[in-house]
């Protein structure tokens, strides 16, 4: 009888110790499921976007730190809130936000499926996890390459370079385009051809024309490019580009110095050295 009482007391004590955090976590931050399913189709070398709803059911404001854990090798994941990269969110009581989880798969994936977890860490240390599973879709896969090691351009001028796109999947990819991320104030003149259609194993070349503003100071910059259509998105490639200053400004300055030099000599000749 006495032993039974001790065991009962221990069970109650254990429940008391373990109980509140779990109850509180459910109350405080309910991590909803994604809009459609927790399983996502991922294209090798591509990017998949999952939407996650995070809700604060607590009566207090909380900060949550988001982290993708146990990611398979080569995979990358990051969060976007209203289009901006984020790692923490602040939620008022009863507030809910929709966060985009971007999953980037490597070009060569050995497994056909996998899982990882999203960790939600509240500022008071309470953690919750959300499992995410994915299946590799070998039907659509896209590879992007460029043979350019480094580009050099003068400010105020235009340059063009070729980007090769290969359909590494099992199905045809239609209306493939490029997403070109340029430095501030640079402009994309055109991409020729604008769209491509590639059969499995086929590759195509797109010519990218960019122009650098004359106001661009000399330096090293990076152009980021990825290929996409409605079925697949390739990984992003970075092309380093060196901008050198146009000599026209220098010629004006040097010319001005020379003019002043000649005028000074003539002035001294006319008036003599004193």
């Amino acid at each position: 009888m006495k032993t039974a009482k001790i065991i009962s007391a221990l069970i109650i004590l254990t429940l008391l110790l373990l109980g509140p955090p779990f109850t509180f976590m459910t109350m405080a931050a309910e991590v909803g499921t994604t809009e459609l399913s927790a399983n996502y189709l991922v294209v090798p070398g591509g990017e998949t976007i999952a939407k996650i709803k995070v809700e604060n059911k607590d009566i207090k404001l909380h900060h949550f730190n988001l982290q993708a854990t146990e990611l398979p090798e080569g995979f990358k994941a990051y969060f976007l809130l209203e289009g901006k990269l984020t790692e923490t969110i602040e939620l008022n009581p009863s507030d809910k936000r929709l966060i985009e989880l971007h999953i980037e798969a490597p070009l060569k994936v050995l497994k056909d499926s996998g899982t990882f977890k999203i960790k939600f860490l509240r500022e008071d240390g309470i953690e919750s996890f959300m499992p995410i599973s994915f299946t590799i879709n070998h039907d659509f896969a896209l590879e992007i390459t460029n043979g350019i090691k480094k580009l050099e351009i003068m400010n105020g001028k235009s340059t063009s370079f070729d980007i090769a796109v290969t359909n590494t999947g099992n199905k045809e990819l239609k209306t493939l385009g490029l997403k070109v991320d340029l430095p501030y104030k640079w402009s994309l003149e055109n991409v020729i051809p604008d769209k491509l259609t590639l059969k499995p194993g086929e590759n195509g070349v797109l010519k990218v024309n960019v122009s650098v503003p004359s106001t661009q100071a000399a330096g090293n910059f990076v152009i980021k490019i990825k290929s996409f259509n409605e079925d697949a998105t390739s990984s992003e490639i970075s092309i380093p580009i060196k901008v050198i200053a146009s000599a026209s400004y220098a010629w004006w300055v040097i010319g001005l110095v020379l003019v002043f030099g000649v005028v000074t000599i003539l002035y001294f000749r006319k008036h003599g050295r004193r």
């Binding site: 104030k185 090293n220 220098a250 300055v253 040097i254 001005l256 002043f260 050295r273």
Partner: protein, 322 residues
Amino acid sequence: MNATWNIARKEITDALRNKLFLTILGMLLTLTVVSVVLGAYQVRMTVDNYNNSINFLKSLGKADLPPMPNLNPISASKGFVNYIGMLGALLAMILGNSAIVKERRSGTLKLILSRRVFRDTLLNGKLLGNLTLLAGITLLSGVITFISVFAIGKVVLSGGDVVRMGLFFLMSFLYMTFFLVLGITLAVMVGNGNKALLLTVIIWLVLAFVFPQIGETMDMDNQLPGGFFAQMGMTRDQEHKLLEKFKFYETLRDGIEEMSPTKHYERISFALLNVKPGFEKNTPTEVLGLKWINLLGLTAPSIILWLIAYMAFLRREDIYQN
């Protein structure tokens, strides 16, 4: 040459007796020491934090250790750019102005020019003396920086970093040279010494603060907090189309910015000190190769002003008046 050097030596002696010059020099050196020491401490703290993390991970038996973070010890001189931009320029202007005005006020200009000293020789001597002073100040600041980074930051600079730092101090010297020459030229051209100094300070304010600010604040994207284009919800294509319509405005804005030696000094210095990203992998000569236009923007105005000073001084007939 002997006359030039004698005048230069007298310039140095006079400057070391000038209370205003010594006060500003003291302020500049104090600020340099404070900023460099703080920068060096920052480097040391980063090194200590890294070492502590490594020791902790090793104690846990971890083999996969994080790489050393990029310390960029030469950025300890970042604050120096601002101090040279203000106090360095002020110091140089006072030296330039007093080089001519003091001789005129004391009547010694008449005395010197009555001897067999050409007017251009006098100017050369004044310039040489003051340049020696500025070079000394720059060298002293450089030595303080090197010692602080080594002694406090406990970092041994690589060969490339030493060259980058050396080139940065050379740029600082060239920047101060411009304001020294401006001070001398205006003192020669304007009869009244006080008016000349006032005019020099006004030009400095315009070149060092107004013009660079025009470049920054008149940039279309800086019109709203968080960026004009982002706040208006524009795509990159819309942004480019809009900028295309304001091409002339952009060229004008940039042209005004290019007229500022301060902007040229800032651009080349930040590239050399790795404060501005994108130059980490370049050698010092490659940085100079990329930023040669800024080097030209720092030196050419000084040469032009100096030639103007020669011509103005040659024909001034009221130079003997007290």
